[in-house]
Point group: C2
Chain length 454, copies 2
């Protein structure tokens, strides 16, 4: 009764289960392959709503789905919770931090990005960024504990300093964070404190460039700026951070026109959020060293049109870790932005190219379809910049906010989460309450200087 053993299935290892890795694994459903999906967390995180966890509007499980639950019905996927230590392209294997190794016939590296402090990693403890759930909990803790510390503080100067909130960087995350902190201070907390007025909190949004939301058309930046002002956010453009410590930060500001107009000042604050820069996962550098791939200034791996690495057709790099270009026949290639729709599209493209390669076909070049850009500022305010067949479509205000809301809920993974998020938001909208105001652990609020901001 002995038969020949079944031909061994090609082993595909995918590192990272963000938007790129998730989509690549999904697009391989039905393929006769053995996929191992490695992530150092047990959940796929819907990062566009992470700021809501940081600002106590959503609980963590509402935007985090267990990876192995998502793939329970896709039998060709094995999920491993593990940290990747290094990639060995010469041996075609991935080393995990527990010492074990995963061999592969094709490798997809979708390890994403982390914060960049532009070489000042010593600022990290004083100004956490927002990439993981742990980051979100830490920022939530700092926001809520700052109000708690101010309620206990009897010195008026110290109390005022405790109510300074600073967000560095006015990209989508920075704008969302600043707008939502302002909402908490002006709408959620008033009436709950006896010694302070939470509405007196200062929310400062610092931006190194000349406008907020620089990826957006200029008039939408202007709209966003107006909406931020309406929420009571102090926006400081052309303002660069010179130093951050446990008590606050130093800002150098100029109007951008003449260097003589530069001045420098200090803002005391116990709660600084870093939304200024991202850097590719360190895995990129390690892989580039061993594979001979090129790395760009941001640490991303420069990929071929089919998203593989030069000289290594069996390795694809996708998502924020890839410096990819979009290829449209008859046009010059254009750079692909580091946004989640691009990561998803790269996931699908790389899955198709893996299957083509297994069939000895040449890969197809990646083409990025840009559907536009959204950013929300707070309750009833957002800006939308859509690419439509009829030309660009721009709008802002309440309609844009509703569009943003339903687009985000639509793209949330899994019906359960969509329902929960919709209910949480419905509740928050009508009551102004924020549901997830839980702080766990006991973390002392860092001491704060007297307010010497000028």
């Amino acid at each position: 009764m002995a038969t020949n053993p079944a031909p061994k299935r090609p082993r595909i290892v995918i590192i990272g289960c963000g938007f790129g890795g998730l989509e690549a694994a999904r697009a391989l459903r039905g393929a006769t392959v053995a996929i191992t999906l490695v992530d150092r967390t047990n959940h796929h995180l819907f990062q566009p709503l992470l700021y809501q966890v940081a600002t106590a509007g959503l609980s963590a499980p509402a935007i985090a789905a267990p990876i192995r639950h998502l793939f329970r019905q896709q039998a060709n996927v094995t999920t491993l919770l593990a940290q990747v230590k290094r990639i060995e392209p010469a041996l075609r294997r991935v080393l995990l931090s527990d010492g074990s190794a995963l061999g592969y016939d094709h490798l997809v590296v979708a390890a994403g990005s982390t914060h960049s402090y532009f070489g000042r990693d010593d600022w990290a403890p004083f100004a956490p960024g927002l990439k993981t759930l742990d980051d979100a909990f830490e920022i939530r803790r700092r926001i809520l504990l700052a109000f708690e510390a101010a309620e206990r503080e009897t010195d008026p100067d110290k109390r005022a300093a405790l109510l300074n909130f600073v967000v560095v960087g006015a990209g989508p995350t920075g704008v969302e964070m600043a707008g939502t902190i302002a909402e908490i201070a002006r709408h959620t907390l008033p009436g709950e404190f006896r010694n302070i007025d939470p509405a007196s909190a200062r929310i400062v949004l610092l931006e190194g460039g000349a406008r907020v939301l620089q990826a957006m058309p200029e008039h939408l930046s202007q709209r966003a700026l107006e909406q931020l002002h309406k929420l009571g956010v102090e926006v400081r453009l052309n303002a660069r951070v010179a130093a951050i410590d446990a008590h606050g930060l130093e800002v150098q500001s100029g109007d951008g026109s003449a260097s003589a107009n530069t001045n420098s000042y200090r803002i005391a604050s116990p709660c600084i959020v870093w939304a200024a820069g991202v850097a590719a996962s360190p895995l990129g550098k390690q892989l580039a060293q061993e594979s001979g791939a090129t790395v760009d200034r941001a640490g991303r791996i420069v990929v071929q049109p089919d998203l593989s690495i030069d000289g290594h057709p069996e390795i694809s790099v996708i998502g924020d870790l890839a410096a990819a270009q979009s290829h449209v026949p008859g046009r010059a290639p254009t750079a692909v932005p580091g946004v989640s729709p691009a990561a998803k599209q790269m996931g699908r493209c790389t899955a198709a190219n893996i299957l083509r390669r297994l069939n000895a076909q040449a890969g197809i070049p990646f083409r990025y379809r840009d559907y536009g850009n959204l950013a929300t500022i707070g309750r009833n305010s957002a800006v939308v910049d859509l690419v439509s067949p009829l030309g660009p479509l721009h709008f802002s205000g309440r309609l844009a906010w509703l569009f943003w809301l339903f687009a985000h809920i639509y793209f949330l993974i899994g019906f359960r989460n969509r329902l929960v998020v919709l209910l949480d938001w419905g509740w928050a909208y009508w009551s102004f309450a924020r549901y997830a105001r839980v702080v766990t652990g006991i973390t002392p609020i860092p001491p704060v200087d007297r307010q010497i901001d000028t």
Copy 2:
């Protein structure tokens, strides 16, 4: 235009916002007093459902309400997030860990209880108990990461050991934990792993006494035992823990009849939950030393019939920290059990007695009204022991489970939370899915011995 200053309001300080402290503060609504409510967390925790957070069925915000939000409309309450360092009865003040002091005219100590390892505090890192949200996250992490580690493990013995779960203590919490871990293993996770069968997990419930749920009538203990067996929980009665380390625990077991029948064995396990004992908050001991109050063997303060301390009518102790008696005219006093309805009733009694004391009236003795006892074991199984005017009412199984469910949802604080919990459970009931399977941080699973359990 100068007028006499308004008479100063009596200052009431309440330490702890569990069931007792919350109820005391609420019962003083409308009183002309200045209440300061101090808690070291920012939330009131609905502890009866904490095991659901630990077993990934509920998110933390579903059972934790921000204290200052609960009291936003009660103007005589100031909420402080602070840790109490010590009580100074001679100076009538409470010292906080930030060095500040709160003077009081009346003090209510409702600091609750913590785990007791019966003098073996060195076991704590290997067998966390379940009192706070942080405890619940730690236990959730250990349960879920044990399955993850087993999926990665290739050695069959080690893999089996990783799937051993041990709960120590078969009171209500231990029974709930063991039943729910069994549900996760048998119903939630199967189909999601490729290298292990989660349903093969062993769930062991160790109990030092001769039956589970010893506070219940004997035949209900028997019903609970049967329901545990049906869920696949191994219940070991008359089993005492002799040692716990990072790799597992040593058990001494006998049938309780003859010492010759005692034997000793080891269970290897990465996930041990401690549900065996509680001890009064250490604040009790400190207060007793300075006030001359008596402390019982469990570290609780022996209180007067009106819940004050002997010689200190201006200090009340309520909830789990109080060794209180119930006084019914014409009957001998009976001990009050450490359950949440008793804490709430003490909170209301002490509020009434504070108002009487401010009016120079004598306090009324505390009378505990026992409405009965509930415990759930898992899906569709619970035991109910009600005290009714018609005599005791006992039932078990699905009806008891529904009763338990609605009783718990009814007592949850705030409509928002009730709705969320009901939806989460409705979803979990129909889908067998568990919503909150998020593990944050990266905690290595402790190494596990080969399974040498005999």
